[in-house]
Amino acid sequence: MYSSKLRPLSLATVVVLGGAFVLAAFTAPIDSDQGFSQKIFYVHVPMAIVALGGFVFGGIEAVRYLRTRDPKHDLRSYTAIHMSVILGLGVLITGGIWARAAWGVWFEWREATLVSFLIVFLLYCTYQPLRFSIADPEKQSRYAAVFAVTAGAFVPLNFIAVRLAEPYIHPRVLNNTTGGALPVDMKIPFYLALVGMTLLFITLWKLEMTHKLARGRLRGLQRRLDLAAGDRDAAGPAPRSAAPQVVA
């Protein structure tokens, strides 16, 4: 069952993430260089790290799917990538706001991490259309897994490439994103926010899968009832979908 531990997970998410944001707002010192706008860091960077982790996790689950052909892994991979794309949108918007606050522009091409993220995001935006354009569910899962594996490997390589392209990274950001130069007062809320964001991701990931499973089981029950009533194909074939078909 995907819904197991959903309640403690959501509670922990609220406590940790809420606590992290409260700490970030009240106890974390104001950055001497960027001032108050540096506070965006506590929501933007954890979101980005978790989104990238979700993409890589989706790739790992895709490898498992290709090995075992167990639809469970395809569902996990699909849901992880799906959630990461949503988080990715948040990363790009908050990143734009931060860039605007810090440097007065909505997008900073010299900021290698932001550029890399945009490229990765654009790549994963095609995941859904790709799945949707393959009708056969088994083939859809297999092809999507091949895409997820390749794209998962692309994530780290892309970051190396973009970083090489622009040797002069903005010094202010370098201090902030590596975490090494952070004072302890900033480190605690940051790592707390990172943990909270991970918990949020896991919670939503499980919630999404629970929903998919429930819908699949319902469809299965409907079909069985229709068959028992002698009404073959009353519900018709499952609607065309980009999501993995859960058969119950």
Binding site: F21, I30, G35, F36, S37, K39, I40, V43, H44, M47, I86, L87, L89, G90, I93, T94, I97, W98, R100, A101, L204, L207, H211, A214, R215, L218, L221, Q222, L225, A228, A229, G230, D231
Partner: protein, 79 residues
């Protein structure tokens, strides 16, 4: 509260906006989930009604032939 307000610098709008974006994403996700939940609920309702009807009609068949007046049992008789 007034002390807090005095401590907030001028460019705090961007920070608020960034956190609002995060909140907005969560709320939109919540709304979509709620919308999909109503769909699930409707399907469960349909299924329940169907099961109710199926349970009622065989009982009617066994009891008396005259009980076929139940409108919900019509479909099951064709099986």
């Amino acid at each position: 509260m007034t002390v807090l307000a005095a401590n907030i610098p001028d460019n705090s709008g961007y920070v608020v906006a960034a956190y609002l974006v995060f909140l907005l994403l969560l709320i939109i996700y919540l709304a979509i989930t709620a919308y999909r939940l109503t769909g699930l609920e409707r399907r469960i309702g349909d299924l329940t009604a169907q099961v109710d009807a199926a349970e009622r009609s065989p009982a009617d068949d066994g009891a008396d032939d005259a009980a076929t007046t139940d409108p919900s049992g019509v479909r099951e008789h064709s099986a």
